[in-house]
């Protein structure tokens, strides 16, 4: 069987590597979405803690 010429094999090789990179990027993007949710929640909690502290000082 003769080796496939570059112009025939090239698109297949490119497609395979693009699929690999796209899968990883998709996963990382989904995880980044989760991370930004965690960051938002952390901001809310910091706000909640600061408010609690202010109320405590007002009571005193």
């Amino acid at each position: 069987m003769p080796a496939l010429p570059l112009h025939t094999a090239g698109p297949y090789v490119a497609a395979a590597y693009i699929v690999f990179v796209a899968l990883i990027l998709l996963y990382v993007a989904i995880m980044a979405g989760r991370l930004s949710r965690i960051e938002r929640e952390l901001g809310e909690l910091t706000e909640l803690a600061a408010r609690g502290e202010r109320e405590e000082q007002d009571d005193r």
């Binding site: 080796a3 297949y12 090789v13 990883i24």
Partner: protein, 248 residues
């Protein structure tokens, strides 16, 4: 500290992948028969091997879960299987592309390696629905662990059977039967194996860190709200890390 370790691991993985890609395209020679098309081998085969090892690792972690009753092992097993499933999808797609280029067909049903890998993937595709079907977290974790162990045992048996099969259509790697790699190809192949294994470990740690952070936030929210009760469990296929103790 956890984040710093993950950053180091991620950087090492990125460097290893970049080096592998450079060597695949600029240093490894073209195959005599498949020519440039054989370059797919450096992503497809390591992905397949790492996927199968990931499934086995998920089974080993599930054994630890059943042995110790520690829910963190269930989370570790879940994440291992989750990432292996994603890698497995990559194996099926890159394999199909390679098959189309080399054999002219997207899929060959009489090729044991392909069909057996598809069987493994179909088996593991039932893992998430199985988890989702059981509402009680403890029962869910136990059933998922039993599944992960059983399926994890099936993986090497399946692999061994395929190796013993007489078909030589699919190129054999890491064997003397056929398709033994020449020097440079072998170096690049092992480097690709190491890089993709590192990628699996990095993603595993990444997801575990995310789960750990989510659990810590939940605990913090409860403490700040002055609520000592455990929150109501939402039906989910994904287990959560309970408590603030390390989910490493």
């Amino acid at each position: 500290m956890h984040g710093r370790r993950l950053r180091g691991l991620a950087l090492t993985t990125a460097l290893a992948l970049a080096l592998t890609l450079a060597l695949v395209f600029f240093w490894a020679p073209n195959d005599q028969y498949l020519g440039f098309l054989q370059k797919i081998f450096y992503v497809h085969v390591p992905l397949a091997i790492v996927t199968l090892c990931g499934f086995i690792a998920g089974g080993v972690m599930a054994i630890q879960h059943l042995r110790t009753r520690d829910p963190r092992w269930d989370v570790r097993s879940y994440v291992a299987i989750h990432i292996s499933l994603i890698f497995g999808v990559g194996v099926l797609i890159t394999g199909s592309i390679w098959a189309k280029g080399a054999w002219g067909h997207w899929w060959v049903w009489d090729e044991p390696t392909l069909v057996s890998f598809l069987l493994v993937m179909l088996l593991y595709a039932t893992y998430m629905p199985l988890r989702f079907a059981i509402e009680d977290p403890e029962r869910q974790a136990r059933a998922a662990s039993v599944f992960a162990i059983t399926a994890g045992i099936f993986v090497p048996i399946n692999f061994a059977i395929v190796r013993l099969a007489s078909s030589y259509v699919h190129p054999r790697t890491l064997s003397n039967i056929s398709g033994n790699l020449p020097g440079r190809m072998q170096v690049v192949f092992y480097l690709a194996m190491a890089s993709i294994a590192l990628l699996w470990i990095t993603l595993w740690r990444y997801e575990m860190t995310s789960k750990h952070a989510t659990a810590q936030l939940r605990t913090l929210r409860r403490l700040l709200a002055g609520d000592d009760d455990e929150p109501a469990v939402r039906r989910s296929a994904a287990p959560s890390v309970s408590g603030v103790g390390g989910a490493r």
